[in-house]
Amino acid sequence: MNATMNRRWDRFTPEQRFLRFAFYFLSVAAMVFSLKNIEIIPEFLYDAPEQLADFFQRMWPMDTAYYQKSVQAALIETLNIATLGTLLSLAMSIPVGIVAARNVVPIKSLNMLAQLILVSSRSVNTLVWALLFIAIFGPGAMAGTMAIAFRSIGFVGKLLGEALEEAHRGPIDALTATGASKASVFIKGYWPQVMPSFVSIALFRWDINVRESAVLGLVGAGGIGMAMDTAMNLFRWDQVAVVLSTIFVVVIIAEIVVSAIRRRII
């Protein structure tokens, strides 16, 4: 037999194969375990379609007059909260994002400090931030704006930092070699490279914030959620339907606007 025939070829070593199997096995086991653990009550599951139909019946016809009366003003407030909150977060997240990028600021302790700020911002939900700021500023749009801003720092800062770390080294070397200061290297070397991503991140976050600020009213932090909360407390499902449709339309418009701008800039 020829020595070049029947040569063995294995993509994975036995250990790797075992680990892969263990991973799949654990995934399935976790799913089965979770299903058992959440204790689904079958009776509730069986009449769900009935409940759903009933729900829609109570929502229809919508109380369209409610839009003029309360929804429109609340909607404008929501958009203001989202936009102001996003702008505020951009101002705060740019410095943090820069310090978090290990190639731009090669000082370990500062990187870790920035990461800590980013993680703490992200680990708290917007609604929790809102409750904190309501305790400080009282209920209303101010608390909502601050909540949006502080939750967004982590998102924008983290993605900006990552974009900076992915910037090409070559142009940075070239500008450093001209004797440029660190600030000049950043403005002319790093910034042009990350600018499109930054605009993308900011628009994406604004898009998310429009949706998040719609819920903020549920905890009393202003905006369209307040109108929904009131209607729900009064069991006015025909009014809740108006609020939900408004949010739906606004989110779609925001999506269209954001993708149009993004296409222009990149």
Partner: protein, 256 residues
């Protein structure tokens, strides 16, 4: 004579270890003349690029001295280092332009060592710099590309911008790290010609890493051969024999 003499570089005992105990540059002693073009040839991975980048400190040497105009470049840091870098132009193999900026903006970045960050941000460069940039772009044949973005240029055009940017510094010495290795043979010659002209009429000495021995012999007045992190040849192109090339690159089959 004094104007060119003080542009020479003396390298003493230059060593660079990326990993401890594994020197890439192994105690280099070298005098690079203050005029003309000096080529550094040698196989890949032998530290040519590291040597050049130690001069303008894109890489920090482990030990040794790099003497230029009475300063030891290896010891500088902070503002004195930036001021030394302003006098050293550099041209890169991958051009290293800022892709999203225009040709003009890329050339003007050559002045970043002199213009404040704030003014650079506002694109407020002195008029004399703008005049010089226009003149340089005309000279390298890119007068019609001023407002075109760098990512729309061909390799040869990009390297012309790279040369204009380096000359824009009004450097006293020019480093070129494989400036033609990413280009086709015809463009390579054109780029070498532009570089030699630009540097020649301004009395700027050039140190160039180059793979193409024929191209090096054609344009350079002095050749340095490196192998294994050491200098094994230092002389004129005429003195470089096949025996030297065998020593530098190893083997001889490729010489046929």
């Amino acid at each position: 004579m004094t104007a060119t003499n003080n542009r020479s570089i003396q390298i003493r005992g230059l060593t660079k270890e990326y990993k401890k105990g594994v020197p890439v540059l192994n105690g280099i002693d070298l005098d690079i003349p203050g005029d003309g073009i000096t080529a550094i040839i040698g196989p890949s991975g032998t530290g040519k690029s590291t040597l050049i980048r130690c001069i303008n400190r894109l890489i920090d040497p482990t030990s040794g001295q790099i003497l230029f105009q009475g300063q030891d470049l290896a010891q500088l840091s902070g503002v004195p280092l930036r001021e030394a870098r302003r006098r050293i132009g550099m041209i890169f193999q991958e051009y290293n332009l800022v892709e999203r900026l225009t040709v003009m903006e890329n050339v003007l970045t050559g002045r970043l060592g002199y213009v404040s960050a704030f003014k650079a941000w506002l694109r407020k460069f002195p008029q004399e710099d703008i005049d010089e940039a226009f003149a340089l772009l005309d000279a390298v044949g890119l007068g019609n590309f001023v407002n075109q973005r760098a990512d729309g240029l061909s390799g040869g055009q990009r390297q012309r911008v790279g040369i204009a940017r380096a000359i824009m510094q009004r450097p006293e010495i020019l480093l070129a790290d494989e400036p033609t290795s990413s280009l086709d043979p015809k463009t390579s010659v054109e780029i070498m010609e532009i570089m030699a002209d630009m540097a020649g009429c301004r009395n700027i000495p050039v140190i160039v890493n180059i793979h193409n021995v024929a191209l090096a012999k054609r344009f350079c007045q002095r050749m340095i051969g490196m192998t294994g992190g050491r200098v094994v040849f230092n002389g004129s192109p005429a003195e470089l024999t096949d025996d030297h090339l065998k020593e530098i690159y190893g083997g001889e089959d490729w010489l046929e």
